[in-house]
């Protein structure tokens, strides 16, 4: 710094730091509150006394929720959909992006236009739904995995990334007698591991948090991903006396749990995987946003 800081500048710094602390509280409070409620006993919850610390420790909400087979099936399906769609996304995108980097590939121009068109036009929700219905893909795993796995945007990003790999490498591999699949896997994919990792995380988080496709394409509750099970607990089931089923009432009374316990417990369970890998996740996401911005 040159010269002395003015008083005004110092006041601003102080104000800025205070503002940032407020920001952190606003960002974190809801999550801490959710965890606190999930672990509190009924009475303080009903009196609205919970802030960020649990009162009257109680794990009844978790006990209740862990008895629901749908929780496990939701978890399992979310994992299947996330891993499946990400795996297909990485494979198909790489396979499509690589030939687009080869100078004398004949269909290059055609494929680029073929992809660009999809960036501006789409059939929309209803025609996609009718298509899935006529292909008998409703209520299948495939409809959750395949349709979104190739996006023009990703293909072009992968292509730009591959273009930054010197073409000499490819040419010498060709001379050594390597075929295209070997070149792609041994050279291009192994040199683009950071890219693959970033997009794998994008894919997994996107799929884990997504639910609308499942709502539209799946009617069978046995194939629901976790988010829809969560939705059921948070919005659809009414725990109020009179409307909730008697079995549920009895169970809740027996375990001394409040509906809020149960709801917040499942929220914690659904957030858990994301929170665990968050420090690692956010780093890659920041990188991913930059790649998208620079190349796109």
């Amino acid at each position: 710094m040159v010269g002395k800081e003015s008083v005004g500048s110092k006041i601003f710094d102080l104000f800025n730091i205070l503002l940032m602390l407020v920001l952190c509280v606003v960002m974190l409070y809801p999550f801490l509150h959710v965890i606190a409620v999930s672990l509190s006993s009924s009475e303080p919850i009903l009196r609205g006394e919970i802030t960020i610390f649990p009162k009257g420790f109680n794990v009844g909400g978790y006990k209740y929720i862990l008895q629901d087979p749908f929780l496990y099936s939701g978890y399992a399906h979310s994992i299947i959909y996330a891993l499946g769609s990400t795996l297909f996304m990485l494979t198909f995108t790489s396979l499509m992006a690589y030939p687009l980097t080869i100078q004398d590939f004949m269909a290059k121009k055609f494929l680029s236009i073929f992809l660009i068109i999809t960036m501006f036009f789409s059939g929309g929700l209803i025609p996609s739904y009718l298509l899935a219905r006529s292909l008998h893909l409703l209520d299948t795993y495939w409809i959750m995995i395949i349709p979104g796995c190739v996006s023009a945007f990703n293909v072009f990003l992968f292509r730009s990334f591959y273009q930054s790999i010197p073409s000499d490498l490819r040419e010498s591999a060709v001379i050594d007698g390597a075929n295209e699949v070997q070149i792609l896997t041994k050279i291009y994919l192994s040199l683009s591991k950071p890219l693959l990792a970033t997009f794998a995380l994008f894919g997994i988080v996107g799929s884990w948090n997504g639910w609308f496709e499942a709502l539209v394409y799946l009617q069978d509750e046995n194939k629901y991903p976790l988010q829809l099970i969560l939705r059921k607990y948070l919005f659809s089931i009414s725990f109020d006396s009179g409307t909730g089923t008697e079995v549920m009432q009895a169970m809740m009374a027996q375990m001394n749990v409040n509906p809020k316990n149960i709801q917040m417990a499942i929220v914690v369970i659904a957030m858990f995987p994301i929170m665990v890998i968050y420090p690692f996740l956010q780093k890659y996401f920041v990188k991913g946003v930059m790649i998208g911005a620079v190349k796109g």
Binding site: L19, M27, L28, F120, V150
Partner: protein, 284 residues
């Protein structure tokens, strides 16, 4: 090698485009799309005569404009404030915390929002400190936009700073030193050094947001709204879902969807042209 990807795009992007024709037909699943009978612009006319349609259009546009007005500048301001922080570790920590809500699913966020907006929830407790009577926020149409937009900002503000911070990191520190020698204060430095550096990024993101003005996050609305708030909350996306998927009015909703994507396309072209004229920045 390109075949698997090609087929996926062909089937799941191009086949639905082919399916758009039912917007102009009386769709019969038995006869198939191609052999269904043409009805011309019947469904478009139906849409524009439907009083519900006007409400949906108005809500979509208003929500889009308000979201842009409030939501667009927020990450820019935050990025400029982050940039003024002097302790790198503190800065890093605050940034990391501010990204968090971006990684949480809409269902969870709406779940938390519902808890906070209940009669005895957090918001009413805070309102109580100021002597305001409890409000059931989610049943009050006049509160819907505020809740929706402010929670969107909460979710996106931190993550939205990333691109601006990247642009700010390219500012040469000697520029600031020179400006200090010339007697510039901090505000002047922000205005004359930092802001010009993030302007191109701002313009590109503004073009993209303008073209997405009709594309409000209807999935979140789907969780957040209820018949009490339909009058302000029902947008094209939610209407399509209710009428199309739930109500099976396929032709009618396909027509609305087509109309929406045409408008979005025109907006994108228009915004890009405008920006090329005023600032030489464009996305292609």
């Amino acid at each position: 090698m390109v075949l698997p990807g090609f087929l996926v795009v062909l089937v799941f992007s191009y086949f639905p485009m082919y399916g758009i024709q039912i917007a102009f037909k009386k769709y019969s699943a038995v006869r198939g799309m191609w052999d269904s009978e043409w009805v011309g612009f019947k469904y478009f006319i139906l849409f524009f005569q439907d009083p519900m349609a006007m409400r949906v259009l108005k809500n979509t546009i208003l929500l889009g404009i308000y979201s842009l007005l409030w939501g667009f500048p927020a990450p820019i301001i935050l990025a400029l404030l982050f940039n003024e922080l002097k302790f790198p570790k503190f800065k890093k920590a605050v940034q990391t915390i501010s990204y968090l809500p971006h990684f949480i699913s809409t269902i969870i966020i709406v779940g938390i929002l519902r808890t906070f907006t209940e009669r005895d929830g957090l918001f009413n407790k805070i309102a109580g400190w100021f002597g305001i009577d409890p409000i059931v926020f989610l049943s009050e149409p006049e509160w819907f936009r505020t809740i929706f937009i402010s929670s969107n900002i909460w979710q996106g503000i931190g993550f939205g700073t990333i691109l601006y911070l990247a642009a700010l990191s390219s500012v040469d520190p000697t520029l600031h030193d020179v400006a200090s020698i010339d007697g510039a204060n901090r505000w002047q430095k922000v205005l004359n050094i930092n802001w010009p550096h993030i302007k191109p990024t701002t313009i590109i993101l503004l073009i993209l947001s303008l073209s997405g003005i009709l594309g409000t996050d209807f999935q979140k609305i789907l969780m957040l709204y209820n018949p009490d708030t339909y009058e302000v909350a029902d947008v094209i996306g939610t209407y399509l879902y209710r009428e199309g998927i739930m109500g099976s009015r396929f032709e009618y909703t396909t027509a609305i969807g087509l109309f929406q994507s045409l408008v979005a396309f025109i907006l994108l072209i228009g915004a890009n042209m405008l920006s090329r004229k005023v600032s030489d920045t464009s996305i292609w």
